[in-house]
Amino acid sequence: MTFSLRGKLLDIDLTAGKAREITIPEADYRAFLGGSGVAAKWFYDTGKMQLSPLDPEAPLFVMTGLLTGVNVPTACKASFCGRSPATGIWSESTVGGRWPSALRSCGYDGMIITGCSAEPVYLYLREDKVELREAGHLWGKDVYATQEAIREEVEDENLRAAAIGPAGEKQVLIAGIIIDGHDARAAGRGGMGAVMGSKRLKAIAVSKGKKTPKPYDPDALDRARREAVPRIREKTRGLTDYGTAGGVPVVEKLGDLPIRNWTGGSWTEGAARTSGQAIMESAGVGHYACYRCPIRCGKEVQVTKGPHAGTEAHGPEYETAAGFGACLLNDDLHTIVAANDLCNRLGLDTMSTASVIALAMELYEHGLLKAEDAAGLELNWGNGEAILSLVEQIGNREGIGEILSRGVRRAVAHFGPPAAEFAVETKGLEYAFHDPRAFTSMALVYATGNRGACHLEGLTYFSENRAFPPELMGLEPEYEPHGYQGKPLLAKTMQDYMGTFNALGLCKFLIRGHVTPAEVSDWVKACTGWTMDAQELLTAGERIFNLKRLINTGLGISRKDDMLPPRLFAHDRVEGAAGGSLPHLGKMLWEYYRLRGWSPEGIPTAERLEQLGLPSR
């Protein structure tokens, strides 16, 4: 039986205006699964890692996962991969919604985009067809208007686009790629929107085809799905009702919220006012599900503030609610809703944008940034007017937004000492809004994350608070809340497991539904016909994680970079459940490297690379 899930890959040269089809060997799928795993393999093999991320010849990989579009729960993801202009290292930004499955239905698994068009263009894909179209008339439009304009142009009201807004066009280093127009799911992290902008590629538009891959054993897959879906629904009911932001009051109580740029300990009333429950009661108008998703965590809301008041928009996720809420000491949910909508329209990463605004507010508090430097804005904590104005200035690189649009690390370099005290980033990527002082295994996840301070590469706070019980991974069931024992193995194990999800095209919220590696490997078997057990799946995840590390070590990354910022390493929250907790990163890192088979300097050893079938540098 041939491997039926393989589609074609498009090799697109925007300088020449040409595209050709290539095929990924099945061996690459078996070893790296697909999605960002295969992208890492091909990126490594191109030998183009050293190119500046915004060099025209720097490749941008757009990859669906191995299972994307197939009838597997949450198999809806695609990843934008390459070298990040924000961090200078490996980056992958993964997004759900409906665009990725539409792309795969055209018979393509993804594309490698190089070059730079002389004029703005967009890619238009249909079944087995791709064309480059002129996009001068779209340049400057926001993401929503871009998709609408392309829909009218090609006369397909169901067309889906992955587009950049003005932020990506202007190569804002914290610009993301937004898909599905108003439905707005974001490949936000790492500045991949700037990479598209540097190539003058406004959008990748897709009209749905009929070439979604067929599973090898549809009956087995159907049985597995029927067994999994009721459990996933039951265990994720909170996400269904209130979205990810429903967790805001809970994480506040656990000392996990980044209050006032990570300096605060408690914010109970504010958390209640900015929770998913409050957002849905005050602004909610509906729910939204990604393709093949039984969870339905997306929310639709009414915008009541800012330049787009009166419109409907995608609701803020947890990260956005925590960033534009607690991190900025803003307890007005309507400002959060408006900031989220503005970021989506402009094509900005909400997490990095909120982080860099938090930096600006703390600089202002300490007199290092004055109102006259910010067009007269009083950057007091919680000032909603200032927050919305800064979002627009960042997205358009105007005023103080020119400095802030470069992200926290570069903004700190501009303002000089002691601004670094207020910087919360690792390897140049701003933090996700879960505190490693509350869940100390997250210190390792952030410090060693291949794209920088990423929560999704490990998600061990789910394990520590038993949203995904660790014994499901064969680990100890409980951990000392703020201790370090056992956490290196927890971090490594979860990183290896989570590394398979972006490769397979699955949503990581499946683990909230207690989906185990054995279950995922059964899905892979039913879809591909391969023999693959849970251990082989986790080994593939470990291989993928190590290959990305190999890319990064080639770019100069080592133990010196596997760090936390001073604020999360040495600054006590004092109050609240995480008061008094500081992560023992040094102790954990030593054990973590040993488990990984890396040298004390954090470099993968030749022996471990060989075990994983990876090239030795």
């Binding site: 009911r237 909170g238 990810t244 932001a245 429903g246 967790g247 805001v248 009051p249 809970v250 994480v251 109580k253 656990l254 996990d256 408690s266 965590c297 996720e317 947890y318 990260e319 925590a322 809004f433 879960h434 706070y461 789910f462 608070n465 038993r466 949203a467 019980p469 809340p481 703020h482 919220f509 109050e575 609240g576 459940a577 008061g579």
Partner: protein, 80 residues
Amino acid sequence: MKTVQVKLYLNLRKYATPAMDNGQGPLSLQENHTTNDLLAALGIPSGEECTLVVNNRIAGKDLLLKDGDQVAVLPPVSGG
């Protein structure tokens, strides 16, 4: 007897006693009662995953509670 102040979060509000308002209120316990006894008194089954925070500190299931303690009972929810 001792009385603790309980706050139940999200779906755990279904275990609220009649004396509670919106999942929040007093609960009377025996002098020797622990956090585990509190869960039993609320009727929360042992299979229901939850985290306890007592006086703003994460607590184990065998912590002896004191009169006036503030107890938050949290489901395993952690945002996104």
